[in-house]
């Protein structure tokens, strides 16, 4: 299989109420091109699932959306990603507020080696969101509640975050992201290291979070994409093959590659 020449994304990559709009995004790692001319809108208060076989560039694309790729020296991003009318790759843009607006949850739960409280308070502290201890307490409690973790940890806020179970750790990381009051949350295979029960809890949480946030989730599980997302984007070898409503992608995909992937012929 190789790159499709002059490919134009099938389905509906654009929408009316876009929160984030990517236009002609290309990513190079040194000599190697990882993403080819991806244009995609992510609508307000929707959950969009990015699926595709390993190495298809879906995680790379996700990391472009809050400039996490900046931390990799050899990575070069071209094209335009517009958040609320401003291009986030504009040289004038400061990544600190950008990343506070576009938060990220990672594949493996990565709580800091601090207490549960300090994990959640980390973001608000560095961004100066709380003016008093009471304020901070409130932010921590609200974030943990929204992440569905408050009831489980309210009696041990000052024990280490690393002492929680894998699923709890991942919800702690979500709480930590919510605490800086983002508008978009990027999730990079957030359940791949979790058991089915913890996964179910996170999926439930994603559904609730949609009311307030815009969410882009990379996942390897097509069931998960079907359960949590409204739109699904299929990536293949760095190209965005098809974007449609999740129902349509999983019942009547337009592109033969999408069909081959969701029916398990490769991936």
């Amino acid at each position: 299989m190789s790159i499709i020449e002059n490919h134009k994304t099938d389905g509906k990559p654009f929408c009316d109420s876009a929160k984030l709009s990517a236009r002609d995004v290309c990513v190079h790692y040194g000599e190697k091109q990882a993403i080819f001319d991806v244009s995609l809108d992510i609508g307000k208060n929707e959950v969009i699932a990015l699926i595709g076989p390993s190495g298809c560039g879906k995680s790379t694309f996700l990391r472009c959306l809050n400039r996490m790729n900046d931390t990799i020296d050899i990575c070069k991003v071209t094209g335009e990603i517009v958040l609320d009318g401003g291009n986030i790759y504009d040289p004038k843009v400061d990544v600190v507020p950008l990343r506070a607006t576009v938060g990220m949850v990672f594949q493996k739960p990565n709580p800091f080696p601090k207490t549960i409280y300090d994990n959640v308070a980390y973001g608000p502290r560095i961004h100066g969101l709380a003016t008093s201890r009471v304020d901070l307490d409130e932010i921590v409690e609200k974030s943990l509640q929204r992440a569905g973790l408050w009831a489980e940890v309210k009696d041990r806020l000052h024990s280490p975050g690393t002492g929680l179970s894998g699923g709890q750790q991942q919800r702690l990381c979500i709480a930590r992201t919510i605490a800086v009051d983002p508008e978009v949350i990027l999730m990079d295979e957030p359940c791949s290291a979790l058991d089915p029960i913890a996964t179910a809890k996170i999926e439930e949480l994603i559904d609730e979070l949609r009311e307030k946030y815009t969410i882009a989730i990379v996942t390897h599980s097509m069931q998960q994409a079907a359960r949590v997302s409204q739109r699904t984007a299929y990536f293949h070898l760095g190209q965005l093959i098809e974007v449609n409503s999740t129902d349509k992608v999983f019942t009547t995909p337009e592109h033969q590659l999408t069909e081959a992937y969701i029916t398990g012929r490769f991936g």
Binding site: M68, R99, A100, F106, N110, F112, P113, I126, P160, R176
Partner: protein, 457 residues
């Protein structure tokens, strides 16, 4: 036969036995037998049984041969010498050994009888040794070779022999440490019989000069070690004051900020500092740094002694920088990238991430590195001996000359000494204190590392 010939014989036997054992196992297998272990296991087993017993015997022989031979020779010495005392016997024995080596001298001596006996004895033991070793080789080879049968569990036996060999190696290391500790301890106890531990540990005057002979003028010595402890503490503190911040920040720069090409050059360059002999640091401290400090001090109107704790501490600090930086760099690199990503993902800057996430995560390792550096600083001798002087002043002034425990150990043991005078024994008492302090530091370091370990992954 001499030792090297026998050793070569044993090595040849090793190879031969391995091949014989392996081939027998292969032959049996090719005849349809279902062997329990691989042919190489049988080969290794035969090789081990063929070579280990002779090697052990050779070792024992080497340890005890002289002693037994001398015992036999003593009986051959003329009675007048034997009764004269131990020193004379030893002298006569060494004469006999010389005579036996050079037969032209033999005729002229009253020891010629003993020398001839020695020559005879040496010839016989050499033959005996060769014979016994060869017999052991062949016995081991033959017996083990015959034991190779399909149901013989060679693999397990080889594993257990290997395990015992490894245990023996670690036991040697541990026993040596215990031996050193015991010898230091016994000498220190002898010292404490002459000088009370209270005076040693809490006395404030250090002046270890003791009259060696009755007619010699000199003080009775005073062994209050507090000035040495404070001197050590002062210099180590100055050294750590330099080494910890500089080393740690260098490590942070190298692991978090430096581009990979800078890192590739800077890290080895920093580690070169660790390779410079301490004597070189010593004369750098004594000839360059100390005069410089004195000059500056005098310009500022301070009274600086020409050998100052500050000079020694500064240079020692520079010497220790690579310890701190290299070890800290390793532990900082071991902090998972996912933690940094998590922090950047929340909009933290690089320095916020380093300060609040990376350093806390790497803290146990950093503490370990610092503790190791402290041990190194306390044990360092050369720089202090050359740059800080020998005067045991009880002072906290870094511009004064001080001395340390290790330097005093050196000065106590250098030169003509009686090994039962309190002056020399004091060195062992100081050594014991040093040992206990370093041990305690290492113990604390291990506890700290254990307490905070596994906070991530």
């Amino acid at each position: 036969m001499n030792y090297s010939t026998l050793l070569i014989a044993v090595l040849i036997a090793l190879g031969g036995a391995y091949l014989l054992g392996r081939n027998r196992a292969r032959t049996l297998a090719s005849q349809g037998a279902k062997m329990h272990s691989l042919p190489t296991h049988y080969g290794a087993l035969v090789a081990l049984w063929t070579t280990l017993p002779p090697l052990l015997l050779l070792l024992l022989w080497a340890v005890f041969e002289t002693r037994v031979v001398d015992m036999l020779l003593t009986l051959q010495l003329p009675e007048s010498i034997r009764l004269a005392g131990e020193a004379d016997v030893r002298l006569a024995l060494s004469k006999v050994h010389n005579l036996a080596k050079d037969s032209s001298l033999m005729a002229e001596s009253n020891l010629s009888g003993a020398a001839a006996h020695l020559v005879d004895l040496q010839a016989r033991t050499s033959l005996l040794k060769g014979g016994v070793i060869l017999a052991l080789i062949f016995a081991g080879l033959g017996l083990t070779w015959r034991r190779i049968q399909p149901d013989m569990r060679a693999r397990g036996e080889v594993e257990s022999i290997v395990r015992k060999l490894l245990f023996l190696s670690s036991a040697i290391a541990v026993l040596t440490t215990l031996g050193i500790l015991a010898s230091v301890l016994f000498e220190a106890i002898m010292f404490f019989q002459k000088v009370s531990p209270i005076e040693f540990l809490f006395g404030t005057t250090w002046s270890p000069q003791v009259a060696l002979r009755a007619d010699q003028s000199g003080s009775s010595g005073s062994f209050g070690a507090i000035p040495l402890f404070t001197g050590t503490l002062l210099i180590s503190a100055i050294a750590m004051f330099i080494a910890v911040p500089v080393g740690l920040m260098a490590a942070i720069y190298l692991s978090e900020y430096a581009a990979s090409n800078v890192r590739q050059v800077a890290k080895p360059a920093l580690e070169v500092l660790a390779g410079i002999p301490t004597v070189v640091y010593g004369f750098f401290a004594a000839l360059t740094v100390a005069p410089l400090i004195r000059q500056w001090g005098e310009t500022a109107g301070l009274d600086v002694s020409s050998e100052s704790a500050l000079a020694a501490g500064l240079v020692m600090g520079i010497m220790i920088i690579p310890f701190v930086s290299s070890l800290s760099d390793d532990v900082i690199n071991a902090v998972p990238q996912s933690l940094r990503d998590g922090s950047y993902g929340l909009g933290a800057t690089k320095s916020e991430t380093v300060r609040q996430v990376v350093i806390p995560a790497a803290l146990p390792g950093i503490v370990g590195a610092v503790m190791l550096a402290v041990s190194r600083a306390i044990g360092e001798t050369m720089i202090v001996a050359m740059a800080a002087g020998l005067a045991a002043n009880l002072t906290a002034n870094p511009l004064d000359s001080v001395t340390t425990v290790t330097v005093q150990i050196v000065t106590l043991l250098v030169g003509d000494q009686e090994f039962d005078s309190p002056k020399t024994l004091a060195a062992f008492a100081l050594g014991l204190v040093l040992f206990i302090v370093t041990l305690a530091l290492n113990f604390v370091a291990i506890k700290i590392v254990q307490k905070y370990r596994e906070q991530y992954d």
